[in-house]
C-alpha cells in the first residue's frame, strides 16, 4: 500500500482495486433492451446495404438489426453467427468506425451511424447467455483437418469445418486458446473472461479437439500434418515482434508492448501489476494505443505515445486516438526514437522530429528527450515459426484468393497470411472462407 500515480519508478498498486475495476470496465456498456430497440429503429434497412459491403465477414446487418427490432434477438444472433462465428468478440473489438459504421448511410448523412457494433453485441450476448448453440453438424464426411493456432482464424475455420461434418484437430502453442482475443485485445474491450467463454461456446458445436502446448515446427512438423490430415490450415498469427533497431533497445525496461498487454490480460489481480510513473510508447497502431491506454489506466502518471508520422497516417483509427487522449495519453506525432539512454534505473529516450517530403520520411534535425521508467515497443508484429516449405511474401505466408498456400493441401489465413487488415474480423473471414474452399476441394 501507499503507492500512488506519483510514486517514482516501476511499482504496482498505484490505484486500489476498486479504482482499477472502474478503469478497466467495459468500454461500451451493453445496451439494455429498450436502448437496443431504440437503436435498432434507426436502421433504414438499406437496399444492398453499404454496411454489409464494408463488413469483412459480410454479416447481413439490416436483417439482424430488424430481427432485434422485432423482439427476436436470438434469430438476430443466428444471422450474425452464420457469417461470423466470433460475432460476439467482433462486436466488442471491431474498429466499426472504419468498417460498417463508417459507411452507414446515417453516418454519411448526419455523422451519427446506427450503432451496429453495440447492437451486434446485444444480439450475440442474448443468444450466448441462453447457453445454446445455433448450429448442428452435418453428417460426418469421414475427413479430417489439422489446424495450426486457436486464434480467430483457426477457430473460424475449425467451426465452419465442424459444421460441414469434418473432424478437426487444432494445435495451439499456448496453454490457452483464443489467440490475441485472449492475450492481445485491450482488457476493457473484452471483460469478464469473454474470450474463454466464447471459445467454450464455439467448441460446443462438437467435432473440434484442441491440443494445447503443441507448437508446430517444434512438436509437430508440416510433413506429419500433411500425412495425418486431409487438409491443413495455418492460422498462427504473428508471434514475433519487430525491433526498434536503435541504441539501448536491449535495456531492461524497454519492453514488447504485446508482452505487457498479455500480462494485463492474464493478471488475476491488476493491483499486483507494476507500471512506470513515466511511460513512453513507441508505435502508431492498435497495440500502441492499447498499451498506452492500459498503462494510464493502471495508474501511470504520464504516458506519451510517440508516432513517427502524422495523425492521418496512424493506423489506429481517429476513434482510438481520441480514446487515448481522453484517457490522458499524450500523442506526439512526427517523431522517431534515436536512442534509449540509461540514467540509473530510469531511462531517457531521445527522439528526432520528422517530416514527410514527397512520401519519404526524413528527420528535421531537431531532437528532444522524454524521461521514462518504462518504454513500450509497439511497432508491429512479425511472422515467426512458419515452416520453410511455405512461400512467404512481404513477411507473410503467401496465399491466393481462396487461402491456398504454395503447398498442396495447405491453406492459411488471418494475420500470418497475405491480404487482409490484421483485424480479428478479417481473420475470421479468412478462416471461414478457407474452410469453404477446403470443403469444395475435398468433396466439391
Amino acid at each position: 500500500m501507499g503507492n500512488s500515480v506519483s510514486t517514482t519508478g516501476i511499482v504496482s498498486g498505484r490505484k486500489d482495486k476498486q479504482a482499477l475495476a472502474e478503469s478497466f470496465k467495459d468500454l461500451h456498456a451493453p445496451l439494455s433492451d429498450h436502448e437496443a430497440l431504440v437503436a435498432s429503429d434507426r436502421c433504414y434497412f438499406c437496399h444492398d446495404a453499404p454496411c454489409v459491403t464494408a463488413c469483412p465477414t459480410s454479416i447481413d446487418i439490416p436483417l439482424f438489426i430488424r430481427q432485434i427490432a422485432t423482439g427476436t434477438p436470438e434469430a438476430s444472433a443466428k444471422t450474425i453467427f452464420e457469417q461470423n462465428i466470433l460475432g460476439g468478440m467482433c462486436a466488442r473489438v471491431c474498429p466499426t468506425e472504419t468498417l460498417c459504421e463508417q459507411v452507414c448511410v446515417r453516418e454519411v448523412a448526419e455523422g451519427k451511424p446506427v450503432e451496429i457494433g453495440r447492437l451486434q453485441r446485444y444480439a450475440t450476448d442474448r443468444l450466448m447467455a441462453a447457453g445454446t448453440h445455433p448450429f448442428e453438424r452435418a453428417a460426418p464426411t469421414g475427413k479430417t483437418v489439422g489446424i495450426v493456432g486457436a486464434g480467430p482464424a483457426g477457430l473460424a475455420c475449425a467451426h465452419k469445418l465442424a459444421v460441414l461434418g469434418y473432424d478437426v484437430t487444432i494445435y495451439e502453442a499456448r496453454r490457452k486458446g483464443g489467440g490475441l482475443n485472449e492475450f492481445g485485445i485491450a482488457a476493457y474491450k473484452s471483460v469478464d473472461d469473454f474470450a474463454q467463454k466464447e471459445l467454450e461456446w464455439l467448441l460446443s458445436v462438437g467435432g473440434i479437439t484442441i491440443e494445447y502446448g503443441k507448437t508446430v515446427g517444434e512438436d509437430i512438423s508440416l510433413v506429419s500434418l500433411r500425412e495425418d490430415f486431409d487438409a491443413v490450415f495455418f492460422g498462427m498469427g504473428l508471434a514475433g515482434v519487430n525491433a526498434l533497431s536503435c541504441e539501448g533497445e536491449e535495456l531492461d525496461s524497454v519492453i514488447n508492448a504485446v508482452d505487457f498487454i498479455s500480462d494485463i490480460r492474464q493478471a488475476a489481480d491488476l493491483s499486483q501489476l507494476a507500471v512506470g510513473r513515466h511511460v513512453v510508447v513507441i508505435g502508431g497502431g492498435m497495440t500502441a494505443v492499447d498499451v498506452a491506454v492500459q498503462s494510464k489506466l493502471l495508474g501511470a502518471q504520464d504516458v506519451a505515445l510517440v508516432y513517427r508520422r502524422d495523425k492521418d497516417s496512424m493506423s489506429a483509427s481517429l476513434f482510438e486516438q481520441d480514446l487515448a487522449t481522453s484517457k490522458g495519453v499524450r500523442i506526439i506525432y512526427n517523431a522517431q526514437p534515436v536512442r534509449v539512454l540509461s540514467e540509473g534505473p530510469a531511462l531517457s529516450v531521445e527522439f528526432a522530429y520528422t517530416e514527410t517530403n514527397g512520401g519519404k520520411l526524413t528527420k528535421t534535425g531537431e531532437t528532444f528527450r522524454l524521461d521514462a521508467d518504462q518504454v513500450f515497443k509497439a511497432i508491429g508484429q512479425s511472422l515467426t515459426g512458419a515452416p520453410e516449405a511455405l512461400t512467404l511474401q512481404g513477411g507473410k505466408i503467401k496465399v491466393d484468393e481462396n487461402g491456398r498456400t504454395n503447398v498442396p493441401k495447405v491453406w492459411a489465413g488471418g494475420d500470418c497470411a497475405t491480404g487482409g487488415d490484421d483485424l480479428t474480423v478479417t481473420a475470421v473471414a479468412e478462416g471461414r472462407d478457407a474452410a469453404i474452399d477446403i470443403h469444395t476441394t475435398l468433396l466439391g
Binding site: L37, D41, Y44, H47, D48, P50, V105, V108, A109
Partner: protein, 434 residues
C-alpha cells in the same frame, strides 16, 4: 396575435381545445386542473342513469400500439362510462361551472333508449348550468351490449329519435357524438340533423383488438385469461376520423352541420387539419392521457403562430377551407403529370427508393454501380412511393411536367386542360368532352 377564442354552436370557450369525454374529464379534480392548465373546455366523462353506477373491470383496461422509442401510436380501452355516482358528478359539474363561467363544460350522456330515461336525466343536467350535452352514441364495448352507446349510434332512426327527445327536454345545445363503427358516416350524421342536433362530434373509438398475448393466447388487455374488443383511439385513428369529418362536411345535406373534430389530435397541426376540413373545434383524449394536460400549451402556441403566419385572424377565417378540395376520384385531373425527382445533394444512398420501386412499383429507379439513384421518367408513374419511403424529407419530390412537354412514359404531350375519368375515352359511360 390570432384570436383563439371559440364559439361552437353558441358555446364559448377561451380556445377551441376541449378535452373529450374520457378519463381526463372524469371528475372535478381533473377538470379544474385541466382548465388551469389551459384547456378551453371539457366534455364531462359520460354519465349514465340514476341508480347503482356501472362497474369497470379490475384488471388492465388499456392496450397500446407503440412506435419507435415506445411512442404511443394507438390506444385501446375497455373502460365504460363513469363509474361514479350520478349526483356526485352533477354536483361537481355545477361547482366547476360556477367557478369557470368562461370555460365550456358539456355533459356527455348515455342512458337507455327510452324516452323516460332521457326525460329523467335532462332536467338534472340543465340544473348544473353546464353549456350543453353530448350524446354518447359511440362507446363500442360493454354499454353497446346493453343496447346503448354504439348500439344506438349504428341505427340512424334511434339517433334521430333520441336527439329529438333531447331537444324537447333540454334547452341548450345538443351535440351528437358519432361512432365510426359503421359503413357510411353520412347516415347517422344526417339522422342527428333531422332530430335537431346542433352539432355532431366524431369520432368515438373504433372496435379493435390491439394485440394478442402469444403465451396466454388471448387478446390484450387480458383479464383473467380472456380479452374483449376495445375502442381504438390516438394518432393511429386520425386518418380514419378525418375522412369521416370530410364526408360529412362535403355532403350537401350535412354541409352546414357544425362538427367537433375528435380522433388522434396530438399537436396544433392535427387540430388545424381538422378545422380545415370543417371542424369548429376539436376534442382531445389520448394525447392528454399520454402526456398530461400541459400539451395544450403547445397546441395553442402552435395554432396561434401558424394563424399569424398565414394571416388568419380567427378560426372561422380558415375553417372548412380544405373542404371544396376534397372530391371524388373521378374528378381528379388525369392530365396532371408529375415525375419523381431525386435531389442528389440530399440523397444518402440508402437505396430504399430503389428497393420499393423495383420490387413493388414500376422499376423506374436506376441504381448505378457507385450507388447513385436516378429516376427513369420513361417508367415513372408518379406513384409517390419513393417519396414516402425515402428517409430524407424532401429529398425526392414530385415535379409537375409543364404542359406542352412530352410524358416520356406515355409519349403523349401534356395538355393544360383538365381531363378526368368522367370524360376519359376508356370510360364506357364517359360524357363527351366539350
Amino acid at each position: 396575435m390570432a384570436d383563439l377564442t371559440s364559439n361552437f354552436v353558441g358555446i364559448t370557450s377561451p380556445n377551441p381545445f376541449w378535452l373529450a369525454s374520457a378519463p381526463p374529464t372524469d371528475k372535478e379534480y381533473n377538470v379544474r386542473r385541466a382548465f388551469e392548465a389551459g384547456w378551453g373546455g371539457v366534455v364531462w366523462k359520460t354519465l349514465g342513469s340514476e341508480g347503482p353506477p356501472v362497474v369497470n373491470v379490475n384488471g388492465p383496461r388499456y392496450g397500446v400500439i407503440h412506435g419507435a422509442d415506445r411512442r404511443v401510436l394507438g390506444l385501446n380501452n375497455i373502460e365504460l362510462i363513469t363509474d361514479r355516482d350520478l349526483y356526485q358528478n352533477l354536483d361537481e359539474i355545477k361547482r366547476v361551472k360556477a367557478d369557470y363561467p368562461d370555460h365550456a363544460i358539456v355533459v356527455s350522456l348515455m342512458v337507455p333508449c327510452e324516452e323516460e330515461a332521457w326525460k329523467a336525466i335532462l332536467p338534472l343536467v340543465e340544473e348544473t348550468g353546464a353549456d350543453g350535452i353530448e350524446l354518447n352514441f359511440g362507446c363500442p364495448h360493454g354499454m353497446a351490449e346493453r343496447g346503448m352507446g354504439s348500439a344506438v349510434g349504428q341505427v340512424p332512426e334511434y339517433i334521430e329519435m333520441v336527439t329529438r327527445w333531447c331537444k324537447q327536454y333540454y334547452s341548450k345545445p345538443v351535440i351528437v357524438k358519432l361512432t365510426p363503427n359503421i359503413t357510411d358516416i353520412r347516415k347517422p350524421a344526417a339522422a342527428a340533423m333531422r332530430g335537431g342536433a346542433d352539432a355532431v362530434s366524431l369520432i368515438n373509438t373504433i372496435n379493435s383488438i390491439v394485440s394478442v398475448d402469444l403465451d396466454a393466447m388471448a387478446p390484450e388487455p387480458t383479464i383473467d385469461g380472456k380479452g374483449t374488443h376495445g375502442g381504438y383511439c390516438g394518432p393511429a385513428v386520425k386518418p380514419i376520423a378525418m375522412n369521416m369529418v370530410a364526408e360529412i362536411a362535403r355532403t350537401p345535406e350535412t354541409s352546414n352541420l357544425p362538427i367537433s373534430g375528435i380522433g388522434g389530435i396530438t399537436t396544433w397541426r392535427d387540430a388545424a387539419e381538422y378545422m380545415a376540413l370543417g371542424c369548429g373545434n376539436v376534442q382531445v383524449c389520448t394525447a392528454a392521457m399520454t402526456y398530461g394536460f400541459k400539451i395544450v400549451q403547445e397546441m395553442k402556441s402552435g395554432l396561434s403562430q401558424w394563424m399569424d403566419e398565414k394571416g388568419y385572424a380567427s378560426i372561422d377565417a380558415f375553417k372548412g377551407m380544405a373542404v371544396p378540395n376534397v372530391t371524388d376520384w373521378q374528378y381528379l385531373n388525369l392530365n396532371y403529370v408529375t415525375k419523381a425527382s431525386i435531389n442528389q445533394d440530399d440523397c444518402i444512398s440508402c437505396g430504399r427508393c430503389f428497393a420499393a420501386c423495383e420490387d413493388t412499383s414500376h422499376q423506374a429507379i436506376i441504381m448505378s454501380e457507385d450507388r447513385v439513384f436516378t429516376v427513369n421518367d420513361a417508367e415513372c408513374v408518379a406513384c409517390n412511393l419513393c417519396v414516402e419511403v425515402c428517409p430524407v424529407e424532401d429529398c425526392i419530390t414530385m415535379v409537375e411536367q409543364a404542359p406542352g412537354t412530352v410524358d416520356e412514359r406515355t409519349q403523349k404531350v401534356v395538355v393544360k386542360e383538365h381531363g378526368d375519368w368522367t370524360t376519359h375515352p376508356n370510360n364506357p359511360s364517359a360524357v363527351a368532352a366539350e
